[in-house]
Amino acid sequence: MAVGLSLIFGVMRVVNFAHGDMMVWGMYLALVLSERARLDPYVSFVVCAAVLFLLGALVQRTLVDRILDAPHEMQILLMLGVALVLENLALMVFGPDPQRVSSSLSAATIWIGPLFVDVARLTTFALAIVLTLAVYLFLFRTRLGRMIRAAADNTYGALVIGTDVRRVYLMAFGIGAACVGAAGALVSGFLPFQPAAGLSASVTSFNIVIIGGMGSLIGAFVGGLLVSVAESLGAVFLSPSLKELVSFSLLVVILLFRPAGLFGRRAT
């Protein structure tokens, strides 16, 4: 999820508060596919990614495209608006109660050496690594990926050399949303969710992206690991309701020492 956010922010400098809700939609989609089509979330995440790609592209083409030159506040407002619409739509369609998708892997556990591991979480973790790698390869090995990096680096430069920047944005936004959709489906087997979960997911993923460094994929991944470790430790040693406190303290400390985030480049 943070990978998707990093991609969108890196390229377009659009702060996307709708990401959490897009993730929640990915989860509900996994739920529907599981109930109606008997698809396990570890299979249906591909479908969720594809559908969210379309949703992301649609939001970009119809809404974000109009405000790319507007100041950041406007973009935040717009994306908050999109987030509200998505959240309330989910509320209308699925109701407010927490849901959970059943997966064949949910109950399974294995021992790895001395550790007792939940197979579902392990699979999710492995797939997250694969996904991050795939996005990385896409960005560094394909022509479109190179164009996305160029536009992120210097949008005006990209425009001058004749890049169709709107199309590049569309793809970046779509791929970002697809990552989020896949992430949603992949965690839907063990994280209960409800429509209201979107905002806190957005905030957490922001935290991750800022810790890792805006626009850095590796940063997003490392940031994600750090935040989840910090939150679990916080939940164990302090109290589960204080886990956000721990991750935000981590954010503050890291920003004190590395204002651009762990892997971020200093703004010039």
Binding site: R146, A150, N154, V160, G162, T163
Partner: protein
Amino acid sequence: MSESSAGSSPVLLKVDHIAVAYGDLVAVSDVSLEVRRGELIALIGSNGAGKTTTLRAISGLLPLGAGRIELGGEAIHGLPPSKIVARGIAHVPEGRQLFPTLTVLENLELGATVSGHTRGNAETLDWVFRLFPRLRERHRQLAGTLSGGEQQMCAIGRALMARPTLLMLDEPSLGLAPVVVRSIFENLVEINRAGTTVLLVEQNVLRALGLCHRAYVIENGRIALEGPRDALAQNPHVKQAYLGM
């Protein structure tokens, strides 16, 4: 630098009484110029005269308030920048505008990505490397870590990768040492001799008049003077205002 044999060749670029504004501020009020196939034309003027604005309008980066722009007889104003690059105009912008975290090679290859298509890539790349051997040596280096002169070479190389018929350059001499400027200007003459038409924007009037065929002088958003370089170099106003004589 012989007198233009291109003086009678067909008009490639025709800028016809264009006006360009940033909001309420009119930066270019009346600019007309013609560039013939094979020519090397200079557009000179002092700070804020409207040189960059003119180039950006030609590239489709700014909308016209009035007038028209034709390339090879076809109107191109109103087209998006990607279409204009595809028609054969490459723009080396003021301040180079490279992609600093990408390698030199990636920067160059991106220049060949005209609206998603890559044409004759390897051959053009080889030509660029022959023009600027420094770029070949440093092709794996990040563009942001190049020296100023090398960055300018990279920006020119990136534009050439699109195989333009018209190469437009916005103050390529800016911030560079005189030796480097001389070498880059020699490259421009070579590029022009190889068949690429060049429109060069410069504040370095002495140098620009030394290498162009004809020049236009822009003042306060309008063309004030135009003519062959020798005539302009002898013009009392040019001498006094731009050559400090």
